[in-house]
Symmetry: C2
Subunit: 215 residues, 2 copies
DNA sequence: TGCCGACTTGAACAAACACTCAAGTCGCGC
DNA sequence: GCGCGACTTGAGTGTTTGTTCAAGTCGGCA
């Protein structure tokens, strides 16, 4: 593992700090210190602090598959379980940090009230990439979900549930609302599946398709 | 309407600015200018900026019934429709501001990464008051929902859906994800209700709910 | 060897920040 | 009229902010 060059060191340091402290509360000096870089170098690579944020958001987006989604799906084949495996990953992140760090994109999305178009576009791209992954699962689930169900809308709703759950978990410093949100989401999925089962095949569907069953 | 005194003028100005720009991006000078107050007066009433935030959060909490929930429920008697009337109010707020201002509490909850206990407690109290209102509705719905349903958990899930929907609406600058989240939430509620209907009374439930009905 | 452009260094900058304070105004009880 | 405490005034505090820049290092190429 070669030592990362200055530019990526800056992006990685900014990524970490924006996640931990938010964008506004992270000073350029913080980033410089954490990356062990002088200010001149930063401004050699980036016109300003906001462009550093753009690079961070681009890195999130480019790495969302390899760093987030694929690890979450490893060992989970059932497409609907993959949706919940993704949520479990966020639960783990909350648990590891005593409910302080949740979804970096969501935090930034609500923190930034002055919405430079470039920033908003990248936030949206990150949300879209996340939603796409869930959407794939819902499509792969095929007829286990009602035919007339809007799968894209449901995928976005899963993101909604994750972000809202993370927000409450962080505020209460307690995982139980996050768990409750996941449980309600699962209850909804269960009902959708029950409804989608064609009557003649009722017996053919065991309660849990594969892997561990949890409620 | 008497002119508000200095203290409340400060709180109201801060409330507006924190909503529009967030806490970190609102300077004390902004508040002073907007409230037409000198800095000495502010520090006569409040030890510091954060205590101003505490006062704002207390005001939100104290006014949540009169200013938010009761207006949303006016003219809506059906308890389950009241849940969606509350969501409709947030939709209106997003629509009125071109999807820039959503839920002030949610924004603050994700913006503040350094979580002074006092601030977090008030954020939590605001969430709890909101959830309580929805909880009341779910209890008032009585047997229209499954008996074994955890009504408190579902109430928190409604908040989850609202906050997540607001977050995406703001990011995409588009109401459609918010609407989609509400639609999915309604689909879940519909299924819960359908399931709760005792079989012998199946014919007694018309598609559109009116006031509370006997089973 | 000499030169050039890519990159680094770190002091310096003005603006913005939250906050302080000595001086002053004002209404009210005596 | 007097004194006192509540409140106001606004210039001033020191610090932190994002950003600039002249000077320097260094590797590769002619």
């Amino acid at each position: 593992m070669a030592a990362p060059d200055t530019r990526t060191r800056l992006i990685l340091a900014a990524m970490k700090l924006f996640w931990e402290k938010g964008y506004g509360s992270t000073s350029v000096a913080d980033v410089l210190q954490s990356a062990r870089v002088n200010s001149g170098s930063l401004y050699h690579f980036f016109p300003g602090k906001q462009d550093l944020l753009l690079a961070v958001l681009d890195l999130y987006r480019d790495g969302i598959r390899r760093m987030l989604i694929e690890p979450a799906w490893r060992g989970v084949e059932d497409p609907l379980e993959r949706v919940f495996a993704l949520l479990a990953r966020y639960r783990q992140s909350l648990a590891d940090t005593e409910c302080t760090y949740g979804c970096p994109i969501g935090s930034l999305a609500l923190e930034l009230h002055e919405p430079d178009l470039a920033v908003r576009e990248r936030l949206a791209a990150n949300f879209a990439a996340w939603t796409d992954a869930v959407h794939e699962c819902l499509i792969a689930a095929g007829e286990r979900l009602p035919r007339e169900l809007d799968r894209r809308e449901l995928a976005a709703f899963v993101l909604t549930g994750m972000e809202g759950g993370v927000m409450q978990a962080r505020t209460y410093r307690d995982l139980s609302t996050f768990d409750g949100a996941v449980r309600q989401l699962r209850a909804y999925f269960d009902r959708l599946q029950r409804e989608a089962i064609p009557p003649r095949a009722l017996r053919a569907r065991p309660p849990a398709p594969r892997r561990k069953e949890r409620r």
